[in-house]
C-alpha cells in the first residue's frame, strides 16, 4: 500500500527538474546575466559562509554545552588527619589545644561569638566549634567550656553549663590528591559565595555583568580609554563570562582568532545559562595562586590556601584581597609581594566605596587591617609528604588514580598532626646533634621514624627523612635495610613459646661457634664486644643483645621456625632462612618493623597497620571503611614474657640510655639494632599507648658510625619525651605465674632471699628445685608435699 505512491512520485520529480533547466536559459540576457551571476555567486558565497559559520557556531555551542553540563572539574580528593577528641579525662595540654585550634584556622578573640573562634583565660577555654560532616554523621556547631588541669581535660560542658560527654573538633585537612596537571580546587556552590565577595568581584572585574549578554562593547571601550589615559594596562575589557571561557575552554595564546572564539562562546554561554550558574563556574575555575607545582583554582581553595579558613568566614578585607588576586595571582602574591598585594586590595576597597557597595568608613576600617595571610603553605602534598605517600599507596589498592584525583572524595586518615610535628622535630634536631657530638660529616646522616597506636595499629606519624617537608625518598617505606638485633625478640619469642624447653632463666651458652651454610661457606658470628660470656640466663642474653647465645638459640629453634613466626606477625616480605638472619641480615623498612613490634605491644595479636579510617564521596556518603581487625598470632603468655624481657632491655640492658630522656616512672619496652660496620642504627620500642621505630643511617649505605644505642635510641628517646606517652603496664595473662628465683643457681627461691628476683613463668615451667633459702621458712613436710605436686 505505501509503496505505490512513492513509485509514482519519482518519475514526476525527475521530469520536473529536466523541464526547468531549458526555461532558465531561455530568460537570461547578456549584460544582466553577468551581474546576476556575480550576485548569485555572492549570495552563494554568503550562504556558504553562513553555513560554515553556522556549523562552526553549532560546534562551539556543542563545546560550551558539553563541558558546562558535564562534570566540569576534576575535583581532587581531600585528605584529613584524625579529629581531636575532647572529653573529661582526655590527655591534653594547653599548648596542644592551641596548636590544634590554630591548625583548624580558629581565631583567638576576647569573646567567641562566631563559629571557629575561641578565648582563653588561664587554663579555661571557651570555644565555638564549626560543624563538620564525619563518616558517622554531623558533629554540630557547639559552644563549649573546657578546663585543663595537670595535662588533662578537667571539665567539659556546653558554655551554658549543660552537660557534654564528648565532642570532636573538625578533622584537620592535611592534603589533597590532585591530578597530573596539578590543578587543585575545593568546589563551592553559588549560594556559598559570600555576597560581599561577589559584589567586590563584579565591582572590579565586570560592573555590567547582570546587564550584558556575555560581551560588553561599552566595557571594552571604557577599558581602552582607561588604559590609554593611564598609559598602561590598568583595566581589562573582558567580561567575567569571557574570562571564564578563556580559562575553561581555550588556551592562553593571545591571537585575534582566539579572541573571536572567546566572544562567540561568551555570547553562547550567556544565552544558554543563567548569570548565577556562570558566576558559580567562574568562582571555581579562576586561577588564584601557585604552591610549588600545585595550581590553586577557585575561591574555595584560595581562601583555605591563603587564610586557612573557609570562604564563609572571610571578612571584608580578606574578600577584597581574593578579588585583588584575580588580576595577577603571581604579581600580587600576598606572601611574596605583600606591599603590592596590599595596594591592590586597598584599590578594590576604594572601588567598592566609590560604587556605594560599602561605606567609606567600612573601606577605611578594612584597609587598616593586615593582609591576614597565614604562613601555613603547601597543604596539597607539602606538609606531610611521607604520610601522604603511604595513604596514596593504601588507596591505590582499592581505587583508580583518576577516581582519587577527580571524584572529590574525602579521605579520613589516622595522622595525628601533633605527634607528627614532634616526630619531625625530634628527628631533625637529634640528627644534627649526633653529627656534632660524634664528629660525623655534617648533613650526611639521614633517618626516619614511624609512630603507631599500640592497640589499634593506626599509623599516627610517619617521617620519611631529615627534611620532613621535602617530598623525596620516603625512607619510612622504601629504605629497606638490615634490621640487626631488632630480629632477636622473634628468636627469643620462638624459644619462649616452648616453655618446657625455655624460660627466661634458662641458661644459654654464649660461646663461639662456626656454622657451615648450604653453600659450604663458614659463618663465624661474634659478639659486639668480641668477647664470649659463657653461660648466661636467657633474659640477660636478650637484654645485653649477645650474638653468640642468640645464634645458638636460633639454630636450636630452627631457622624455618623463626621465619614462620615473622610471617605470623605480619611480615609478608620473603624471608630467606639463612643463619645470618638470626643476627638481622634480614632487611625490612621501618614501617614493617613497626608492624612487627605492634604485634608485641598488642600482646601477640596481629592487626594490619592502617593509615586510613574512612572514605566518603563528594556528597558525604560513606564509600568504604577500613575497620579494626585482630588475629591472635602468638600466645599471649609467651609475648608477655618477651615484653617483660624487652622492659629489661631498657631498664638494665642496651636500651638503658633512654633514662636520659624519659622519666624513670615511665615503663618502656624496646630493642636496639646495629648492623655490620655501624651502617644502620635502629631502635624499636613501645610504651603503654604507642609503638615507635626509628632508623638512622646514610643513604649511600656507608658506615654512619653509630650503634642502635648511640644513634636511633637518642632520636627515639627525644621523640617520646616530646610526645609524653603512657607508661607500659603489662597485664599478666592467666597462664603466667611469678616465681622468685636465685640468679646464680637458677633455683626456686623465696621472697627476701638474698639476690632472689621474681620472674614470670608460663605455669608449670618454673624451676622445681628449691634453694636452701626458700626451704628455710617452711616445714619439711610442706616443702616435700609442694615439690611432690609441682
Amino acid at each position: 500500500m505505501a509503496r505505490t505512491p512513492t513509485k509514482k512520485r519519482r518519475p514526476a520529480a525527475r521530469s520536473g527538474t529536466r523541464a526547468k533547466k531549458p526555461r532558465r536559459r531561455g530568460v537570461s540576457r547578456p549584460r544582466g546575466r553577468v551581474k546576476r551571476r556575480w550576485l548569485a555567486r555572492l549570495i552563494a558565497f554568503g550562504f556558504l559562509f553562513s553555513l560554515v559559520a553556522g556549523v562552526y557556531v553549532l560546534y562551539l555551542d556543542h563545546t560550551v554545552r558539553t563541558k558546562f553540563e558535564g562534570k566540569r572539574w576534576a575535583v581532587p580528593a581531600r585528605v584529613y588527619g584524625r579529629p581531636l577528641e575532647l572529653y573529661a579525662g582526655a590527655r591534653l595540654t594547653g599548648e596542644q589545644l592551641q596548636a590544634e585550634l590554630r591548625r583548624l584556622g580558629y581565631r583567638k578573640v576576647a569573646h567567641p561569638r562566631q563559629p571557629a573562634s575561641w578565648s582563653q583565660s588561664g587554663s579555661r577555654f571557651l570555644i565555638r566549634t564549626r560543624n563538620f560532616q564525619f563518616w558517622d554523621g554531623a558533629e554540630p556547631e557547639q559552644y563549649i567550656d573546657l578546663r585543663l588541669d595537670g595535662g588533662r581535660v578537667a571539665h567539659l560542658s556546653q558554655a551554658d553549663g549543660a552537660e557534654l560527654a564528648l565532642l570532636r573538633l573538625e578533622a584537620p585537612e592535611i592534603g589533597s590528591i590532585y591530578p597530573a596537571h596539578n590543578e587543585d580546587r575545593v568546589l563551592v556552590r553559588r549560594d556559598q559565595l559570600p555576597p560581599g565577595l561577589v559584589t567586590a568581584l563584579l565591582a572590579v572585574e565586570d560592573r555590567t555583568f547582570h546587564e550584558h549578554h556575555g560581551v560588553d562593547p561599552r566595557g571594552i571601550a571604557r577599558a581602552l580609554w582607561a588604559n590609554l589615559r593611564a598609559g598602561a594596562l590598568v583595566q581589562g575589557g573582558s567580561t567575567l563570562t569571557q574570562q571564564l571561557i578563556k580559562n575553561f575552554y581555550l588556551t592562553r595564546e593571545r591571537t585575534l582568532w582566539r579572541k573571536l572564539n572567546e566572544a562567540v562562546m561568551a555570547l553562547l554561554l550567556d544565552a544558554r545559562y543563567g548569570k548565577d550558574e556562570i558566576l558559580g563556574a567562574y568562582a571555581n575555575e579562576i586561577y588564584l595562586g601557585q604552591d610549588g607545582s600545585r595550581a590553586i583554582h577557585g575561591f574555595g581553595l584560595a581562601s583555605d590556601f591563603y587564610f586557612n579558613r573557609p570562604l564563609g568566614e572571610l571578612d571584608l578585607a580578606r574578600q577584597a584581597l581574593l578579588v585583588a588576586l584575580v588580576r595577577g595571582p603571581s604579581y600580587y602574591d600576598p606572601r611574596r609581594n605583600p606591599k603590592r598585594a596590599r595596594k591592590r586590595r586597598d584599590l578594590v576597597l576604594r572601588l567598592l566605596a566609590e560604587q556605594g557597595a560599602i561605606s567609606q568608613a567600612e573601606a577605611r576600617h578594612a584597609a587598616a587591617q593586615p593582609l591576614g595571610v597565614t604562613d601555613q603553605r603547601g597543604r596539597g602534598r607539602g606538609n606531610f609528604p611521607a604520610f601522604m605517600d603511604l595513604v596514596r599507596r593504601q588507596l591505590h589498592r582499592d581505587y583508580r588514580e583518576e577516581d582519587l584525583t577527580s571524584e572529590g572524595l574525602r579521605i579520613f586518615t589516622t595522622l595525628d598532626p601533633w605527634v607528627q610535628a614532634h616526630a619531625e622535630e625530634a628527628l631533625g634536631d637529634r640528627l644534627g646533634k649526633l653529627e656534632k657530638w660524634n664528629k660525623l660529616p655534617a648533613g650526611k646522616l639521614e633517618g626516619s621514624a614511624v609512630v603507631v597506636d599500640a592497640q589499634g595499629a593506626e599509623v599516627l606519624a610517619l617521617v620519611g627523612g631529615r627534611k620532613a617537608r621535602f617530598a623525596g625518598f620516603n625512607r619510612a617505606l622504601d629504605a629497606v635495610r638490615p634490621i640487626g638485633s631488632l630480629i632477636k625478640p622473634v628468636v627469643y619469642l620462638a624459644a619462649l613459646m616452648e616453655p618446657a624447653r625455655y624460660t627466661l632463666v634458662t641458661p644459654l651458652e654464649d660461646t663461639g661457634l662456626t656454622i657451615r651454610g648450604g653453600d659450604g661457606k663458614a659463618w663465624t658470628p661474634r659478639n659486639y664486644d668480641r668477647k664470649e660470656h659463657g653461660q648466661v640466663p636467657l633474659h640477660r642474653a636478650l637484654a645485653n643483645s649477645y650474638n653468640l647465645s642468640t645464634v645458638r638459640l636460633g639454630m636450636d629453634m630452627g631457622l624455618g621456625r623463626v621465619a614462620d613466626l615473622l610471617r605470623e606477625l605480619g611480615i609478608s616480605r620473603p624471608v630467606e632462612p639463612v643463619p645470618a638472619m638470626l643476627l638481622g641480615a634480614l632487611s625490612l623498612s621501618p614501617l614493617e618493623v613497626a608492624q612487627l613490634y605492634q604485634g608485641f605491644a598488642g600482646g601477640g595479636f596481629y592487626s594490619p597497620l592502617r593509615a586510613i579510617r574512612e572514605v566518603l564521596d563528594a556528597e558525604g556518603r560513606p564509600l568504604q571503611r577500613y575497620p579494626l581487625t585482630v588475629r591472635q598470632a602468638v600466645p599471649g603468655e609467651a609475648v608477655y614474657l618477651l615484653n617483660r624481657n624487652l622492659q629489661e632491655v631498657v631498664s638494665e640492658g642496651t636500651g638503658k640510655g633512654l633514662d636520659r630522656f624519659l622519666p624513670s616512672a615511665l615503663k618502656v619496652a624496646g630493642k636496639t639494632g646495629t648492623t655490620d660496620g655501624l651502617r644502620d642504627s635502629w631502635f624499636a620500642g613501645f610504651t603503654g599507648d604507642k609503638v615507635a621505630v626509628v632508623w638512622v643511617g646514610r643513604d649511600d649505605n656507608r658506615p654512619a658510625g653509630l650503634t642502635g644505642g648511640t644513634g636511633a635510641l637518642q632520636v627515639w628517646g627525644d621523640m617520646m619525651r616530646r610526645i609524653a606517652p603512657l607508661s607500659l603496664e603489662l597485664i599478666s595473662p592467666e597462664g603466667v605465674e611469678t616465681v622468685w628465683v636465685e640468679p646464680h643457681s637458677m633455683m626456686r627461691s623465696g621472697e627476701g632471699c638474698e639476690g632472689a628476683r621474681p620472674f614470670p613463668f608460663i605455669k608449670g615451667s618454673a624451676p622445681r628445685i628449691h634453694s636452701s633459702c626458700s626451704r628455710g621458712g617452711e616445714s619439711g613436710l610442706g616443702g616435700f608435699l609442694r615439690d611432690l605436686f609441682q
Binding site: 573529661a88 563518616w135 558517622d136 564528648l166 595479636f605 585482630v630
Partner: protein
C-alpha cells in the same frame, strides 16, 4: 530385788553423767561479759521463691557481669552504639565502638562489645578474635572473661568447630 534394780539404775545414771562430763565442754567458770555496741544481725539470705530450688552443689550461681565504671565519654559512646544496634545500624554501632576504643584502647569491655557486634554481623571468626583480645585485657574480670569464652564457643560452633567450642565452654565454666 527392787533394791538391786534401783542400785543398778543409780550406777548407770552415774556412768552416763560421768561420760557426759568427759565429752562435754568444760563448765563456764565466770559469767559472760556483755559486749558493748549494737549487735549486727547476721546476713540473711533471701528465701527462695516458691517453686525455685537452689542446687548449689551441682550448678554454681550465674555470675552477673559486674557493671563496669566507664568514663562519661565512653559511656556516652556505648549508649550511642547500643542505640544504633537497636536501629539495626550495625555498621554505625561498630564505628562508634571503634571510636570509643581510640579513647580507651585497653578497655576490655569495649573489645567485648565490638566482638558481640561483629558476631551479630555474621563475622564469626573476627568476633572470636576480638573476644580473645578482650580476654587478654580483662585481667581479673571473671564475668567478662566468661562472656568472652561463651562468645568464642558460639563463634567456633557456628563455623563447624565443635571441639573448639566445647573447649571454650569448658574454659567459661571454670570462671566463677
Amino acid at each position: 530385788m527392787k533394791m538391786n534394780k534401783l542400785r543398778s539404775m543409780f550406777w548407770s545414771l552415774c556412768a552416763v553423767l560421768l561420760l557426759q562430763g568427759c565429752i562435754g565442754a568444760p563448765a563456764r567458770t565466770s559469767a559472760p561479759v556483755r559486749q558493748p555496741g549494737p549487735t549486727v544481725p547476721p546476713p540473711v539470705e533471701p528465701a527462695a521463691a516458691p517453686g525455685e530450688a537452689r542446687v548449689r552443689v551441682y550448678e554454681p550461681p550465674q555470675v552477673a557481669l559486674a557493671a563496669p565504671l566507664h568514663s562519661k565519654a565512653v559511656q556516652a559512646l556505648l549508649e550511642r552504639s547500643e542505640q544504633q544496634r537497636l536501629e539495626s545500624d550495625l555498621d554505625g554501632a561498630v564505628t562508634t565502638i571503634e571510636r570509643a576504643l581510640r579513647l580507651e584502647s585497653r578497655n576490655a569491655h569495649l573489645w567485648n562489645r565490638l566482638a558481640h557486634l561483629r558476631y551479630e554481623q555474621g563475622r564469626r571468626t573476627l568476633a572470636a578474635e576480638l573476644a580473645a583480645k578482650s580476654n587478654a585485657l580483662a585481667a581479673r574480670d571473671l564475668g567478662l572473661k566468661r562472656d568472652n569464652w561463651l562468645l568464642i564457643a558460639a563463634a567456633r560452633r557456628s563455623v563447624g568447630d565443635a571441639r573448639g567450642a566445647r573447649d571454650a565452654e569448658r574454659k567459661a565454666r571454670t570462671l566463677y
